[in-house]
Symmetry: C2
Subunit: 697 residues, 2 copies
């Protein structure tokens, strides 16, 4: 490899000549790709070549090359055997060298031609890992940066590091600049934890021109803030002496007969579920065509057409500049796929694991593989059901399982784990786990951390923030045409002592149809235990007489604390509500816009529509093909326990079957135990499972 | 065993002569009991003997014989080496045969004498399994019951079953009767699911006199409702043909080097935690003296003095009599300990399990063992922490563990699993799992289930209900004297565009001290993400300058839907709030009163004080020994998937360290993986863990 060739940590980049290797051969998919399969290591450079030739003599940088999913109608027709296989297409965002012109390109790989080329204005595309690499490289040699470091006694620039972030908002420049900011840190040694040494200045750069635009020192009472120098480490080379190696005995999780799931290409089946697993630079994992076998109707019933995390925002709550610029949109500004970790067995995933690789693109249009990007495994999930007849001890119980499709991303300091989970009772849950490093800033001796942060180590301030995720679900509840009802638990309308409610205990569930997209922009209500029903009004459960339903259970959806009219409130408008519902339209996916970097949240941007624009069309969402955006997350007031590295904190959202199946859909699961314990014996007869206490104490 | 001797399913009763057996020998604890250990199979009959002799010639029935925990000051002095070991004492509630007089008795087992005998009036004690056995036995032969059955064509009384319930409320009788009600069901055969055949009448009985007081037929439009006869079964003998035995491959969970916890008597230590595990007839599991080793201060720091579930209520939402009577207080009216299942390996608990037995008492004052009442085991808990340096892929991650102390109870139709969980980051969580059978009732052809229920099978109505649990925590956050603050997330007080909040992103946490017990009777607020901080105001985290804290995270606390002034609102007053805090007083434990059966919720009952009475004293709860009652649960609108047996539904509450430790308390956990992945190698060097994909597809 040539010394100046780009490397990206965690990526295996394929260049010309690499394709003859054995490892490449094992990575080239066999057979015809499923229409939703991510682009392969062959298709990406093929697309790049087509696009380069089309654009010639313009020199292009590829911001992304990703699958152009077929239009829903075309794909559905193919699946139903009514139409031929859709062509394979790539979607690319390119940036023209020199002019910085951004264009959206669609290349047809089946027909080897560019089909669409659309130039877009007043947008800033996703900052890739290569883009974010710029600031550290150019800042270290910039005289203004060097001077800023000297001002606090730092002269060895090899010890100064910059985490590249999207700019958030900075009124000094517009779209004529492709901006990023660098948060500055110091390290005493190569692996020293830099978040223990945050510096008191930030840097703004133009990514394309590789220019430092500004070095902004934050003076406090006219003074500089010295870098906190005490180390706070967590890597073994620093704290290995403190490990208690004998305290935890190993737990082995094995599946000696293999796993219960099958994977054919990227199609996964497990315990009656079937689905397709996709992956792309922006959403990471995409789960499509989820259906479940109904044991009573003996047919596969559709549940969800498509599930993915389409945006997230981490707004910080310190109003003092430049901290107001910290509100990272990790999906839209950086790309969840791009930031995905390569997972390792035993460390990230335990048990019998199946991995899938992620295939990304580089700025040069090369394919880059993230080995083991996606982990697929099943886990025991405790009790599925149990009942004992108290009279004689007759008992039956069965155990539940969960199937987990997961990825972990690193967004500079933070780690996020995404755990898409299915259980045997038909429930889907997305669990997020938050870990990694708090964002930190240095404190001047005259300052205190409160009220906008916590001093998590001497003179190190971790600012308050929120983590708000947007889960996009295109439901297909037993068919394409669905509706949404809001479901509120209410006390009886009648007074205590009235004939209708004499003892005062009456309560019921009020269902409010959400008929248009504006009506559906709703929030959680604790007092009524609000949930939302995604129904198929054309399919009535013949037993309960209610429409077949999947219920959205989402009570972990904190209100957006940035005030109405604030920058965050505008840019992260999706986070104003726990739910949005709009009619399905091809390629309307990203609720904060296709181009989140430097966005203002303005309504009706010609190239950057958001969920607000779609909802404002105020179309009917009744008995039609709809899409739901569900927001959830948490508010984080840092604590000392989060430093120097955060214990993983979980937060989740669920969708559960509700009158979808005519009875418990998991009665096919053989029980773990059946014991008939008759009173006359007053002891436990031979159980169907061995009774042994295998602990050694 | 004599043929007419009481048997109770799941109990191994010890009678005279049984104590010479080998199994008895293995059950008699060795050594001196810990002062909080449950009474042994020797102590219970010893207490019964003392009390019988004291009361002679009165003939007694023992409603309970349980440990009389030592007064807190006495126990603390003993633990600190300042006082001798407290005497072993038994607390018993007795019912005098004939008069029905109830008395509370304290017997000193160390000194072999009765120390206290207090008669109590206008109370009805817990209904034991023996008590609840009465109604089925006497109803089957009662002429009015037989007639009621004939009216719907049922003549074989051996096929009619009655689940005994507390009465809830019935104005026809007062405390002169010790009431229970029987909900009637039919079975086609011995193991047929009776909840598929609910009958349209209920029975009220006097438990002591074993008399049927009333048979109440619920006419609909003047007609009887025929019993639904279609079977809806879930036992293998009925549905075994439908099991898919090959669909799920086994998952083996083993600990070849043994478990990480040690149990000495009933004292448990694990991963730096230490605690005592108790058990009694009413609360089930009691966890005492929880402390955790602080690796930085190198000392054991106290967390919680005592944790247990002290009440729960399941109020049904159908206002039509007799359904208003359904609001079971499973702790207070029946006793969680009494209803505890005997657990079996592989079925209820998986992995390397340590079991503890529960020791109950019978009406005759005998000891009865519930084998394997409590399950103790550890589980992998996924990621503890992870961080990757995006520059070069340097990564470290460690895995979390959870310790689970659990029991499962059967409350007639319902099953409840109680999972007390500790994790390595210092978090305590109580997770409840709800499974078993919905309560069902029959529907007349002219009726519909809505709005107060769901038709879960043809003509079978499952009524709306709530499950509300009360977790009592006596905190000892690094010391005895604690306070509580209410914690609300608020947007900045300043407007967008103001100097203090120019960009409008500011937000902070408002802490409101709760100074008295009335101030502390609070509820959840979703809009402010409310949580509560239990603090030690005398111990300030030297780094964050905040008092050491354990934070109550409880957003699963539905409001009580029974209206103010209703029977449920009065009797289950504890459920009106998500939190109550009162000063500690010995033996003030049960928030719905010591005597819940037939209670009215009246304030200031001489023998039956409730949390409302304690809170109304409006004492200071600042910087003193306090007790917290935390209510959580869920509102259940039944769905067809819950029938004929419910997939387990979880609901939980947590307490997390917050500025309690000076940094992440789990850095002693050796990492699962450390990889230095330098860019120059662009591949993954030898990892410290084997990379293998062990799935077979």
């Amino acid at each position: 490899m040539a010394p100046d060739t780009t490397s990206i940590a965690g990526y295996t980049i394929f260049r010309e000549g690499d394709y003859d290797s054995a490892s490449a051969a094992s990575l080239i998919p066999r057979g015809v790709p499923h229409p939703l399969d991510q682009l392969s290591i062959v298709e990406i450079p093929a697309a790049a070549k087509l696009i380069r030739e089309y654009a010639s003599p313009k020199v292009l940088k590829f911001n992304c090359i990703t699958l152009r999913e077929p239009r829903k109608a075309e794909y559905a027709a193919f699946r139903n055997g009514q139409a031929p296989r859709p062509d394979r297409r790539a979607f690319a965002i390119i940036i023209v060298q020199g002019s910085g012109q951004v264009a959206e390109v669609v290349a047809n790989l089946t027909k080897s031609k560019v089909e669409e080329w659309k130039e877009v204005q007043d947008v800033a595309p996703t900052l890739t890992l290569e883009d974010l690499d710029v600031i550290e490289r150019i800042a270290r040699t910039d005289p203004r940066v060097i001077k800023a470091c000297e001002g606090i006694g730092i002269t060895d620039m090899s010890k100064v590091f910059f985490d590249g972030w999207a700019i958030g908002v900075d009124e000094r420049w517009g779209f004529e600049r492709r901006l990023q900011q660098g948060l500055a840190y110091y390290r005493n040694s190569e692996f020293d934890n830099q978040y223990a040494h945050p510096l008191d200045f930030t840097v703004v750069a133009d990514t394309e021109r590789e220019e430092i635009l500004s070095v902004d020192v934050k003076y406090v009472n006219g003074e500089r803030t010295a870098a906190p120098l005490t180390e706070h480490n967590f890597l073994p080379e620093f704290i290995g002496d403190h490990y208690k190696n004998d305290r935890l005995k190993p737990i082995d999780i094995t599946q000696p007969q293999g796993v219960s799931f099958q994977v054919r290409g990227n199609e996964l089946s497990w315990a009656g579920y079937k689905m397709h697993i996709g992956f792309n630079y922006r959403e990471g994992i995409v789960i499509s065509d989820v259906r479940m076998h109904d044991p009573y109707e003996d047919r596969d019933r559709t549940l969800f057409n498509r599930i993915s995390v389409v945006e997230m925002v981490v707004p910080y709550g310190n109003p003092d500049p430049p901290h107001h610029r910290k509100h990272a949109f990790d999906v839209g500004e950086y790309g969840t796929g791009y930031m995905t970790n390569s997972l390792k067995l035993g460390c990230d995933c335990k048990g019998a694991i199946h991995y899938m690789d992620g295939v990304m693109s580089t700025g040069a249009g090369e394919a880059a593989v993230i080995k083991n990007a996606i982990c697929i495994h099943e886990e025991d999930n405790g009790l599925l059901y149990k009942h004992t007849d108290f009279r004689d001890g007759t008992v039956v119980s069965a155990r539940d399982r969960k199937l987990i499709i997961s990825q972990i991303i690193t967004a500079a300091n933070y780690e996020y784990g995404f755990y898409h989970t299915f259980t045997l009772d038909g429930t889907y849950k997305l669990e997020m786990k938050l870990t990694g490093m708090l964002n930190t800033y240095c404190m001047h001796p005259s300052e205190q951390a409160a009220p906008y942060g916590t001093e998590v180590a001497p003179r190190i301030n971790a600012h308050n923030h929120q983590h708000l995720f947007s889960l996009r679900v295109d439901p297909e509840i037993d068919g394409v045409n669905n509706s949404v009802l809001q479901s509120d638990a209410l006390s009886s309308d009648y007074a205590v002592g009235s004939p209708e409610n004499y003892y005062g205990n009456g309560f019921y569930c009020k269902k409010t149809p959400l008929r248009t997209s504006l009506e559906a922009a709703t929030n959680y209500c604790h007092e009524t235990n609000r949930s939302w029903d995604i129904i198929n009004p054309n399919k009535i459960n013949e037993i309960s007489k209610k429409p077949v339903t999947y219920k959205i259970i989402n009570n972990a959806c904190p209100p957006l604390l940035a005030k109405p009219g604030s920058v965050v409130w505008k840019r992260a408008a999706f986070a104003r509500n726990a739910l949005w519902v709009v009619p399905y339209k091809d390629y309307e996916i990203f609720p904060a816009g296709d181009y989140v970097c430097q966005s203002t949240g303005e309504e009706n941007h010609p190239h950057n529509k958001t969920i607000v624009d779609w909802a404002n069309r105020n179309e009917s969402i009744e008995n039609t093909d709809i899409v739901c955006y569900m927001q959830f997350g948490l508010t984080h007031f840092p604590r000392t326990e989060d430093f120097p590295i955060m214990p993983a904190e979980p937060v989740s959202i669920m969708m559960r079957a509700s009158n979808f199946f005519r009875k418990n859909p998991a009665l096919w699961v053989p029980p773990s135990a059946l014991c008939v314990d008759t009173m006359s014996r007053n002891a436990f007869p031979s159980a169907c499972c061995a009774e042994k206490d295998s602990s050694r104490l």
